[in-house]
């Protein structure tokens, strides 16, 4: 799967995933989720972890928002804007890439 990594603009139809150099994993010693990246370790909060676990490069952002809105019985528009802002922030820092169809 080709992945776009530069200048990503996150929208409802984006299908984001973590790049190879950013690994989301549970840290047994500290009992929390972490993102391992070059020269840094990030500690995402619970909501960020939940969103990132939905980022598989297959699901688009709209589908992720649907899942979260249903789960938390919350206002869809508010969730959408929070999720997009969080993902855009990660993308700007280089911790998110966008899946796209391999060009035929």
């Amino acid at each position: 799967m080709a992945a776009r990594t530069r200048n990503i603009s996150v929208t409802g139809t984006s299908r984001p995933l973590l790049p190879r150099h950013a690994k989301l994993r549970f840290d047994d010693t500290r009992q929390r989720w972490v993102i391992l990246a070059p020269e840094r370790v990030l500690a995402p909060d619970d909501i960020a972890v939940e969103v990132l676990q939905l980022c598989d490069g297959d699901r688009d952002v709209d589908q992720m928002v649907d899942l979260l809105a249903a789960k938390y019985v919350a206002d869809r528009a508010a969730i959408a804007s929070d999720v997009i802002a969080m993902l855009q922030d990660l993308a700007d820092k280089g911790f998110l890439v966008e899946a796209r169809e391999a060009s035929a």
Binding site: T5, R6, N7, I8, P19, R20, H21, K23, R25, D27, D28, T29, R30, R32, V34, I35, L36, P38, E39, R40, V41, L42, A43, P44, D45, A48, D89, L90, A91, D92, K93, G94
Partner: protein
Amino acid sequence: MSPTLTDAAPSRGDAADGLSILESRKSAAETFGIPLAVLAELTHRCPLQCPYCSNPVELERGGSELTTDEWKKVLTELAEIGVLQIHFSGGEPTARKDIVELVQHASDVGLYTNLITSAVLLTRDKLKALADAGLCHVQISFQGNEPVVADRVAGLKNAHEKKLEVARWTRELDLPLTVNAVMHRQNLHQLADIIQMAVDLDADRLEVANVQYYGWALKNRAALMPTLQQIEETSRIVEEAEVRLKGILAIDYVVPDYYALRPKKCMGGWGRQFFNISPAGKILPCHAAETITGLDFLSVRSNHSIAWIWQNSEAFNRYRGTGWMPEPCQSCEFKEIDFGGCRCQAFALTGDAGNTDPACALSPMHEQIFKTAETEASHGGDRFIYRNFAGGTVETGGEYGS
């Protein structure tokens, strides 16, 4: 390989991205919890001879290096006690014939692996094997943006072309790439071109690291020290590029502390969130710590565990926290901000590692240091002393030392 590690803490929280809890105050990382990242200097052997090398002037010979099995045992132990990332560095880490095996083992025990390399020994097949072994990230050092300056600084002919080739292979293999550019008086004029080179190479990150002056770099200080004007120009270029390249290239900028008023928070504080393992297995608070005489650094070959050495050894506890500080540090409101600066620099410039880092404007030696820097920057010769096992070789016209 990476003098920047002195300053750029290998793992750090960024309050701005809301993801900083791990390193927040009173967290495990703060109170001498096991570091998140460790630097493994696999060897001091290196085909390059950079005059600012971060290795000690007394290099360790190949014969004293840990064996493959010893390194594997170390990697397993690190993962077990909670280390998350391992930076394979040197010398040149790929000078070890077992580099692929070590990366594979690190991956197997769950460590995030980073290769900090000069790249000149890599073939495409070797890089592919490293990628297949789970390597997460590649950092390649560059000495300039073109061969005339770059090969002279590296002390190796054709080094620059080779690095460009390996950087391209890195991206072809879909490995993330950081370009590490160590900057000094004799290459700062190339900074804008180096930034463009990093973009052209499709690098994810660029480290613009001004030389830190201990060990080899201290020997070469007169040939490397930038002018104040250069530093101001550097900051301007970096700030402009950071804005222009947002989302394209992340830039980490390490400021030279000789021209600062406040010292750097070296290693995030002595023995606070980082350690380094030397080729012979010594556990060190930083890669330059062995330059401080009178401290006894324990080895993984001792009968102590790595965690015990980190938590209990005298060398780690000597300058931990703030209790050891003399004045003007002890009553300083910044003492928990910078932890008194750099112990190695204090030792190198004052003869006592317990003194205030002279980079601090409150140090009685600060004025003198700044004057020295200015004088060397304007009057110093450009000739290098190349780094090698013989204690250094002075550059001669057209020849690269050895």
